[in-house]
């Protein structure tokens, strides 16, 4: 069970309080109707799935309720940083 630093609660919190919410920094096309099928599929389904550092979202559902962003190494599972949505990836 991971220990995830929550930037809102300002402390490390156990994974059991969170829900994983997929890759971070995927932007929904501002005008979806204008996106072609390939671009839309890219947004919907295609993921970087890196072996290495991933930027991912977690929701601290049993805590502050907020979505947060986390940088984690998918090989060591070590967490390098966590930050609020809207903030730049460190």
């Amino acid at each position: 069970m991971l220990l995830i630093p929550c930037p809102f609660c300002a402390m490390d919190r156990p994974e059991a309080e969170f829900r994983h919410a997929g890759e971070a920094h995927l932007t929904r096309p501002p005008d979806p109707a204008a996106a072609d099928d390939a671009a839309w599929a890219d947004f919907l389904y295609h993921r970087a799935n890196p072996r290495g550092v991933i930027a991912e979202r977690w929701r601290h559902v049993h805590g502050c309720g907020r979505f947060i962003n986390v940088l984690r190494d998918t090989v060591s599972d070590r967490i390098l940083a966590s930050y609020r949505p809207g903030e730049k990836r460190p």
Partner: protein, 1005 residues
């Protein structure tokens, strides 16, 4: 059960259990004094039905050895007689079942870890009819046919007959397995806790204790755990050395007392650190009652501790390696360190005439101590060319014969016990049988790096000693003591103290043991075992390599070496060395197999903890549960909720009850508990915009005081949930969700609110449990309610799809005119605490109106007659709103899922669409999930056109009805199709999915 233990017991008692004045004679191999056992009280126990005596503090293994019993088990494959090899967790052979009756039998326990208690009953395993005479051993006759991997090469039989499965596999399965699983459910309780500390020290030997002392003295919250009953590790069998000027055992007692006195330190005996998991979480398994003769029922049998430690200090010691020589598996052949431990800790002599074979100095300690205890140490055979370190010298000085450069060439049994060993000199081919009743072996020590490696620490090869040592550790993890290469007490203590910045204790009186590389005889053949439990011989290893299994992981899997319950604690390094030799590569190039949890096996019950029955998953009940029980409801599980499914009256089965409930509701009125519906209050100036972006339907245009049905799509365009949006005020909505979708919908909404549209001023609050929901449905619904309501609920004042806050029976309620039945309907939302009172007010009025209470099953029929969908029944995550005939709200812009609906295959003509089905036979209710085809006798492989999603007998229509998803279904209205069932195909006509009151007239009255 296991053989016929009682009978067998009688036999053995005659032989072994010599009685004196009505009492069993004490064991014969116990020393007169010394050791740490409690000698004053005899503990009576039985093994395979024979009664024995032991001492307090004994393990089953030490007590058996004290009684001269070496033969304790049979190996997995060849059923070879096996004895106790080790003294601790690494024991590969001495696996026993401990029988406590009433579902409390535990198989596969290591006798070396079973603590003795009065009345303990243990049995050997994997033998028939008895341990001594095991017919399974006949397999050995076929042993030449059963080398590594033989089963991959044969037992296939002629093609097409399935002989493996039919004939051979059942034979293999009959032979397989060690102990027997209990037949009766385990009545014991198990507990599970989280714990947190600054420092977790795993292993309470000298290194661990020194580390815990240093940490504790520094004020750190510390947990010190050890798998054994008594903390102390090597100190428990240290009689010579002085630590800080006092005898080691006294130092141990003082240190433990000091630790016990520190409130922030917790010492946990009988607690195995079995696994290291991500982010410094360590699993501990604590055995609470297994060692007690009469445990209190209040105590759990075992506890799981999930410990999060800032720092993990591993002090798990080292495991002695056996030597691989022909006949090295005979009862009476054991590890030298174990023999010494039995002597010094338990006061047990493992033999009276011993020979020692070693490739490492530490075995001389056993030689010296055994000799001092009066055991005839006939010879130490040192496999190294020279044996002249301080310990060998001390042995020689004590008059013990030492043969350097010797070899063990074979062993011989009398009965089932070793009686002599064939020794030779490495160079000149001379060989000689030595008679002895115990052969002690040592091939160096393997640092127990298991937990370090599990924590994803690297390993580093130390060639001089032939060991893998902890390399770069995971952050927050460190190894100290013998598991980190410390070879003596002083080093172990020093590493321990240093880990916590403490003062290093001074050690005197220990003769240093010079380390040397492990001994590998690359050519050793015959019954030279590498893995005792799985009967893997050196021959098997070489054969595997020759057959192309070069990776050590291949060797492991092909030979089964290391796959046993001991996970190769004693055998793996020998396996590795032999494989490396066979391949001609250095050991580090081959690497180790992966270290995985658990370090030693952990009970399923311990891992599952208290989670059983209602603790497995919460039972959620509505505020009206007691009322439903009083009405005689039959409940169903919907997610965690218990929902009333139907309310049978005397003599009714489900179908009769449901028919009555449906018909009565349509004719008069019905009362339904809809409290499990999810509810979300959506508040803020942008609430309407927000909902508009999340639902298919036009929400922004909804007027305060009105409700609208809403369908929520996933971003992929599939129907995800539905509910009612009630606009309470311009900036306030009461939104309902499906019962099982509640949490998911809220999460979905929060996701978009927080991360996609943070600029929207809107908040979401779950009110699911605040509101109880009583649905009053039916043509007389208003008559039932009106007298109770303070206010006008006429069709004009509160029309269909209106919402108002009103008092009902004096209770402040949120009244919604919505209907899932197709009838005039009211859903009264009342604060949960008032729900019973409201029910009590409504129930007699329902009765007076000729109405009924109804359950989920009737609700399903009512809505199906109207063609209303249930998310999860008409939909399955692959259904679009278009498939259901639902249109996008007028004037809507983008909303979640919209873009996906425009993808080519979401518009395809052959998509499955919602239709009604009427079977030719109106009495026949189709099976839900049944497939729809065009032919009446579809050949196998026929493509289905669709499937039945819902199917009931409709009291309103007096016939069966069904909803279905059908390819191009709307175009097929009127077509005749078929539904193949087991008993034959049923003809059906495709109809519109609304069977009753398509104009909705009944809703609006």
């Amino acid at each position: 059960m296991i053989g016929s233990p009682r009978h067998e017991g009688m036999m053995q008692r005659l032989l072994v259990g010599r009685m004196f004045q009505g009492r069993l004679l004490p064991e014969s191999m116990r020393t007169a004094d010394g050791g740490r056992v409690e000698r004053r009280t005899d503990i009576r126990f039985s093994f395979d039905g024979a009664d024995y005596l032991g001492c307090g503090g004994d393990t089953l293994a030490s007590a058996l050895l004290a009684n001269g019993v070496h033969l304790v088990g049979r190996s997995m494959k060849y059923h070879r007689p096996r004895g106790i090899v080790a003294a601790g967790a690494e024991e590969p052979n001495a696996l026993v079942a401990v029988v406590r009756g009433g579902g409390r039998t535990t198989p596969n326990l290591r006798a070396t870890q079973v603590e003795l208690f009065e009345g303990l009953e243990a049995h050997s395993q994997n033998r028939w009819p008895s341990l001594n005479t095991d017919l399974g051993a006949l397999v050995a006759l076929a042993a030449p046919l059963l080398p590594a991997g033989f089963y991959y090469k044969t037992m296939m039989g002629p093609r097409g007959l399935g002989l493996w499965h039919r004939v051979f596999e059942p034979l293999v399965r009959r032979a397989a397995g060690l102990g027997r699983a209990p037949r009766v459910a385990d009545p014991d309780r198990y507990a599970r806790y989280y714990a947190h500390c600054d420092v977790l020290v795993a292993g309470a030997g000298p290194a661990g204790i020194a580390a815990a002392l240093a940490a504790g003295r520094g004020g750190a919250r510390t947990i010190l755990c050890d798998e054994q009953a008594e903390p102390g590790g090597a100190l428990l069998s240290e009689i010579a050395a002085l630590i800080d000027g006092i005898p080691a055992r006294e130092w141990l007692a003082q240190s433990l007392a000091e630790l016990a006195a520190m409130p922030h330190v917790r010492v946990m005996p009988r607690t195995t650190a079995f696994g290291c998991y991500p982010h410094n979480m360590v699993g501990l398994a604590e055995r609470v009652t297994d060692h007690l003769a009469a445990p209190s029922p209040d105590q759990p049998r075992e506890r799981l501790w999930r410990v999060r430690a800032r720092r993990i200090v591993l002090a798990t010691g080292a495991i002695e390696r056996p030597l691989v020589f022909p006949g090295n598996d005979r009862p009476g052949v054991m590890l030298a360190g174990a023999a010494r431990e039995y002597l010094l800790r338990w006061g047990v002599k493992v033999g009276s005439r011993v020979v020692i074979a070693t490739a490492c100095d530490t075995a001389y300690r056993a030689a010296l101590d055994l000799a001092t205890a009066g055991v005839a140490v006939k010879l130490v055979v040192d496999l190294r060319a020279a044996a002249d370190g301080p310990l060998p010298q001390a042995a020689r000085a004590a008059g013990i014969a030492v043969l350097a450069g010797g070899r063990v060439l074979g062993t011989h049994l009398r009965g089932k016990r070793l009686d002599s060993v064939l020794l030779g000199r490495g160079d000149d081919g001379r060989r000689r049988w030595f008679d002895c009743d115990a052969l002690l072996m040592c091939n160096g020590w393997t640092p127990a790096v298991h937990l370090h490696a599990q924590a994803r620490g690297a390993l580093r090869w130390e060639g001089e000693r032939g060991v893998f040592l902890p390399g770069e550790p995971a952050p927050g993890v460190e190894s100290i003591g013998a598991c980190n290469g410390a070879t003596d007490l002083a080093m172990a203590l020093a590493q321990g103290a240093a880990s916590g910045g403490g003062a290093v204790p001074v050690v005197e009186g220990e003769v240093p043991a010079l380390p040397g590389p492990a001994h590998v005889d690359a050519a050793v053949a015959g019954d030279a075992f590498v893995d005792f439990q799985n009967d893997v011989r050196a021959d098997d290893v070489r054969q595997a390599v020759a057959e192309g299994f070069h990776a050590i992981e291949h060797v492991k899997r092909y030979t089964a070496g290391g796959l046993g319950t001991d996970q190769g604690k004693t055998g793996n390094m020998n396996l590795l060395a032999l494989a490396a030799a066979a391949r001609g590569t250095p050991i580090p190039e081959l690497g180790t197999t992966t270290f995985r949890p658990p370090y030693t096996p952990v009970s399923f019950g311990t891992l599952a903890g208290p989670a059983r029955g209602e603790m497995f998953d919460p039972v959620r009940t509505t505020p009206l549960h007691a009322q439903a029980v009083a009405e005689g409801a039959v409940f169903e599980d919907v997610g965690q909720w218990k929902r009333a499914r139907y309310f049978p009256q005397a003599g009714e089965d489900m179908h009769a009850a449901v028919r009555r409930e449906v018909a009565t509701t349509r004719a008069a009125a019905g009362l339904f508990d809809a409290s499990t519906l999810g509810k979300i209050e959506v508040v803020g100036p942008d609430a309407a915009i927000f909902l508009d972006r999340l639902y298919l339907n036009a929400i922004a245009t909804l007027k305060p005081g009105r409700c609208r049905y809403g369908v929520m799509l996933s971003e992929a365009g599939f129907v995800m949930d539905d509910g009612v949006m009630a606009r309470l005020a311009p900036d306030r909505f009461h939104v309902t969700t499906t019962t099982s979708g509640a949490a998911h919908v809220l999460a979905h909404m929060e996701d978009y609110r927080q991360t996609e549209w943070p600029e929207l001023r809107v908040w979401l609050t779950s009110t699911t449990e605040h509101w109880a929901v009583l649905a009053v449905q039916g043509p007389r619904a208003r008559d039932v309610l009106a007298p109770l309501v303070a206010g006008d609920i006429s069709a004009a004042a509160l029309p269909h799809m209106a919402v108002r806050d009103l008092k009902v029976a004096g209770i402040p309620a949120r009244m919604m005119r919505v209907s899932f039945s197709g009838e005039q309907g009211f859903e009264v939302n009342a604060p949960a605490r008032h729900a019973p009172a409201l029910w009590d007010a409504l129930r007699p009025r329902i009765a007076a109106a000729g109405g009924t209470v109804y359950g989920t099953e009737a609700m399903h029929v009512l809505r199906a007659e109207k063609g209303y969908i249930i998310v999860g029944q008409e939909t399955d995550g692959t259904v679009t709103p278009g498939d259901l005939g639902m249109a996008i709200g007028r004037g809507k812009g983008d909303f979640i899922g919209r873009r996906s609906l425009a993808r080519p295959d979401m518009l395809a003509a052959d998509r499955r669409q919602l239709v009604g089905l009427l079977s030719d036979d109106p009495a026949l209710v189709l099976e839900e999930g049944a497939q729809i085809v065009a032919q009446s006798a579809p050949p196998p492989g026929t493509k289905a056109l669709g499937h039945v999603t819902s199917s009931y007998f409709s009291p309103a229509l007096g016939r069966s009805i069904a909803l279905a998803l059908l390819a191009g279904g709307r175009e097929r209205t009127g077509e005749r199709l078929f539904v193949p069932l087991a008993r034959g195909s049923i003809g059906v006509a495709v109809a519109a999915p609304v069977f009753l009151d398509p104009q909705g007239g009944r809703l609006h009255v």
